[in-house]
Symmetry: D2
Subunit: 136 residues, 4 copies
């Protein structure tokens, strides 16, 4: 598993004073970029050079406790599933200060060539990175 | 059902050149604000004056086709479920130009008092608005 | 001049309860897209097809009154200057409800080819659109 | 001076493939939060507890070189001016990889009570933090 800590930013909240729910999914993407940091060139090279992308095709998310400005989140990323041309990650988000579970998000990605925008077989190094983070 | 049309904005895309997936959920919130437009003072009064909020507690989303800068989306909002202290909406998003289904998002909301941040019974006018948009 | 009205959205505010200042500049960009709506294919065709972009090279902005969730802004766009390879627009933003001046933003753009990322002479139709909105 | 380094994120770019200009001002705000990190409770306590805010009243910004996904920025923050009830910061942003100057932003803030939304005298600890970062 990979751990990514993230403070809520000043402009992450909405008019209800809570972190806007879509912003939480942005945090997941940040954590995913960290997740692929072990690859040569990281997520940036995947996108910019290799043109391998991970469009989200499915999300299941549970939000269990509010998150506010001043909170920090600890996001644990694990591989939930490795398919042939798709994979899924699970993001478990707890508030750093009190350990309360704030959200669990499962994202399914279609591994894709970004020029053709077609699903492709998961490249070997990506598959290795995913396999390294399957739950025990 | 309520229909909300929305052009993709210049800054809605990501480095892969597609609308960032979390932004799609932001579109859903915009459509939800329109959905509650029939209430006196609309969604703004719910939040600012009545302090009735709709924190998302669960999302299920399928993304089926890419959306890019230059596309517009037609978002149909229907009530999926009305509970005692929660409700859910279904957002069906098609690309305006070609009618291709881009995404289906189901959001479950806990109807809440924003000061106490506790679930409350759905106010009558909100319940009426929800009931008006149950599928036939 | 071009007029663009825009409601503050639920997620445009920050933890101080005001529209986040950078978001106001996003509003200006939206208004600029409307400004170029008279061109064939609009701003989208400029970016996607013609690869003519308008990177901002200079901003001067004054923020004079707070803007909150529930407010709508009336944004008037006028051409401030037309150069050879640059142009500037002035955005005057008033609150719709009370007419209070909220902000004045002047943006200077380098008209650029987006592939080479080099300044280019302003295309004729763009120059015509700019000239049509010089103040009387 | 305070130094804050920030990678461009996947969703910081726009349809032209460059960091959206308003996002650069968001980076400045992040750097400003770091700037006030020496205060007890940091910027969060200023906003949430002490209700002391810094609405931007004026911006002058020059953007000199493009910033893309894959770039990181080094943001140097210095105090530009300390007034009675206002202060200004200068943000100098260079690309980490090649040291190229990307932007210089000067922000003038009205130090304000967020409940009354009125300008107030700069609190002593804030003044001390500002004074510590005046250029030599």
């Amino acid at each position: 598993m990979i751990v990514y800590e993230r403070r809520v930013r000043f402009d992450d909240v909405d008019a209800a004073g809570l972190v806007f729910y879509a912003r939480m999914l942005g945090y997941c993407h940040e954590a995913m970029e960290v997740f692929f940091g072990s690859l040569e060139g990281g997520y940036v090279a995947l996108i910019n050079t290799r043109r391998v992308g991970f469009p989200t095709v499915h999300i299941e998310a549970d939000f269990r406790a509010p998150v506010r400005y001043g909170d920090a989140l600890r996001i644990v990323v694990e591989t939930a599933h490795i398919g042939t041309r798709s994979a899924s990650l699970r993001f478990t988000m707890t508030r750093v200060a009190d350990g309360v579970m704030a959200a669990v998000v499962k994202n399914v990605y279609a591994v894709s060539n970004l020029d053709a925008l077609k699903a492709i077989s998961i490249p070997d190094d990506v598959r290795t990175a995913l396999a390294a983070h399957l739950p025990a």
